[in-house]
């Protein structure tokens, strides 16, 4: 084992990983994180903490990770390239290593246009693939990007996100290949609704043997309502929601829709588990953390292996 990551430990023992995410609050109240954390206790192996997701200012991923760490979780520090240059990024990685954060998820980041500060200047000094490589160089070579030696290497398990549904589809597995080459050890995918397309993407991933070098954790998000399903389909960039899903949500009475959403999610997980190369599930219940336990339970993912 390279790191103290719970994800890495479970993967090495041949286990199936379950992760979820926790969105920090738009304020300085640590109780919000603790409350969300409590809902995930014993349900997941590691928790992602988003980094100013959709470019809306929130409590930093770093500090929220520390709060979760104090609660006994193995947090996954999400880091985007939108707001930091290579100096700030490397500095934060050293800090993460020092404070016992074991996992990092390397992302480009949503454009600030979508957030609450669209007039901000963005950074994008490096991109997500270069960020993956930066963490690897710091950890494995003990070198900064500038070439100097690191005294006390940060030991993080390196992850990234991938969207199998973005275009151009034909290079999506090749792009994952670049991430793996850069040093990526686990991938969490965009929410999967289009099973056919995901299956095809996984075939491309297996053809390249990438599933053996990098653990694929398949992403799922339950619909709360048909409204949310439509919103995801029409307004979230890179999201692929087939019409059949919308129809199925429409087909049940309003008060039964959230139940149906959970049902779809559980069925999706069951199908995903059958796909060769899928090593875990990443449950993103957006502002609906209280449902993660129920989903994991119904999908037969509990109990989680002991830390």
């Amino acid at each position: 084992m390279k790191t103290k990551s719970n994800i890495e430990r479970i993967l090495e023992s041949g286990g199936f990983v379950v992760t979820s995410e926790c969105g920090p609050p738009r304020g300085a109240d640590p109780e919000v994180i603790r409350k969300k954390g409590n809902l995930l206790k014993g349900v997941v192996d590691a928790v992602n903490v988003t980094d100013n997701q959709t470019s809306v200012v929130r409590m930093s991923s770093f500090s929220s990770c520390i709060i979760l760490k104090e609660m006994g979780f193995d947090p996954i520090l999400q880091m985007v390239c939108r707001d930091r240059n290579r100096i700030a990024i490397q500095s934060d990685i050293l800090g993460a290593g020092a404070l016992g954060i074991n996992n990092i998820l390397c992302l480009s980041g949503d454009h600030q246009k979508f957030g609450d500060h669209p007039k901000a200047k963005n950074v994008f000094d490096i991109d997500s693939i270069q960020l993956i490589n930066t963490v690897k160089i710091l950890r494995d070579d003990g070198k900064f990007l500038g070439g100097e030696e690191v005294k006390g290497k940060p030991v993080l398990f390196i992850g990234a996100a991938e969207n199998p549904f973005a275009d151009p589809f034909e290079i999506r597995a090749a792009r994952l290949g670049k991430k793996v080459k850069a040093g990526c050890e686990f991938i969490q995918t965009q929410c999967i609704y289009n099973m056919e397309k995901f299956t095809k993407w996984m075939e491309m991933v297996r053809d390249r043997g990438l599933h053996e070098r990098c653990a694929i954790l398949a992403g799922v998000t339950p619909f709360k309502s048909v409204g949310m399903a439509k919103y995801m389909k029409n307004s979230v960039p890179g999201m692929d929601v087939p019409d059949g899903m919308i129809e199925r949500m429409k087909g049940v009475a309003k008060e039964k829709q959230s139940e149906e959403g959970i049902k779809i999610c559980v069925e999706t997980i069951q199908k995903l588990r059958e796909i060769p190369g899928v090593r875990g599930i990443h449950i993103m219940a957006i502002e609906w953390e209280e449902k993660v336990a129920e989903i994991a339970q119904s999908a037969g993912l509990l109990p989680r292996p002991q830390v």
Binding site: T134, P237, G238
Partner: protein, 222 residues
């Protein structure tokens, strides 16, 4: 070319409020091509200004002049004989030209009449589009001749991000995804294998990050 956009009449009128005698300077180069600051635009702007000011009972005298270039001193020198007759210069050349006029006539206030926006091309009559950000170390040979810095909203060197959809960028449904263009062109050139290579972190010292840039050609100096 350098593409610029005329400022609104209102903004220009506001800047000109304290003045009665204005030297309006256009430029015959890029801003003429992109119809922001050439001879025609000088004429149009001068009439608009005079009309508005006359309506408010605030007559204004405007000398209209379009220089061959505002980024070379020999042309800027052409207004030296009469520049002193005017209180202020309103330049509708690009930002470089506007500044250079000010550098030559140090006691004159030079006001910007355009917003200089990008280095680009004419797509069709009346439509211009950005192509280059002058990063100082061109990578076009690696990216199918399409610039990832200027044409990807996140300047990703190893794109596309997860927001690329149907050829469009996540930032705007009307904006082409630069990385879709790169992939398409690499395919056309039979170079898709290039996509497998990771482009390493960029050295931004040659871009604006290295501080204001200067280029020197010893062989050309007098």
């Amino acid at each position: 070319m350098i593409v610029a956009n005329r400022k609104s009449l209102e903004e220009i009128l506001n800047m000109l409020k304290p003045y009665k005698k204005v030297l309006l300077l256009g430029c015959n180069e890029c801003v003429t091509v992109c119809a922001a600051g050439g001879e025609r635009e000088v004429g149009v702007l001068a009439s608009e200004l005079k009309l508005s000011r006359a309506k408010d009972g605030q007559e204004i005298e405007i000398k209209e002049q379009t220089l061959e270039r505002q980024c070379d001193h020999e042309y800027i020198d052409q207004v030296r004989p009469f520049v002193g007759d005017y209180e202020v210069i309103l330049s509708i050349a690009c930002g470089a030209g506007i500044q250079y006029v000010g550098e030559k006539y140090r006691t004159k206030i030079v006001l910007p009449g355009v917003n200089t926006t990008f280095l680009g091309v004419t797509l069709e009559q009346g439509v211009w589009s950005e192509r280059c950000q002058g990063c100082g170390e061109c990578v076009l040979h690696m990216t199918g001749g399409v610039c990832p810095i200027a044409r990807c909203a996140k300047s990703l060197l190893n794109g596309p991000c997860g927001g690329s959809s149907n050829g469009k960028c996540e930032v705007d449904k009307d904006l082409d995804c630069g990385w879709q263009l790169i992939i398409d062109r690499l395919k056309e050139l039979n170079q898709l294998d290039r996509y497998e290579e990771i482009i390493p972190v960029k050295d931004w010292t040659t871009s604006r990050d290295g501080g204001p840039r200067k280029r020197l050609r010893e062989d050309l100096r007098l």
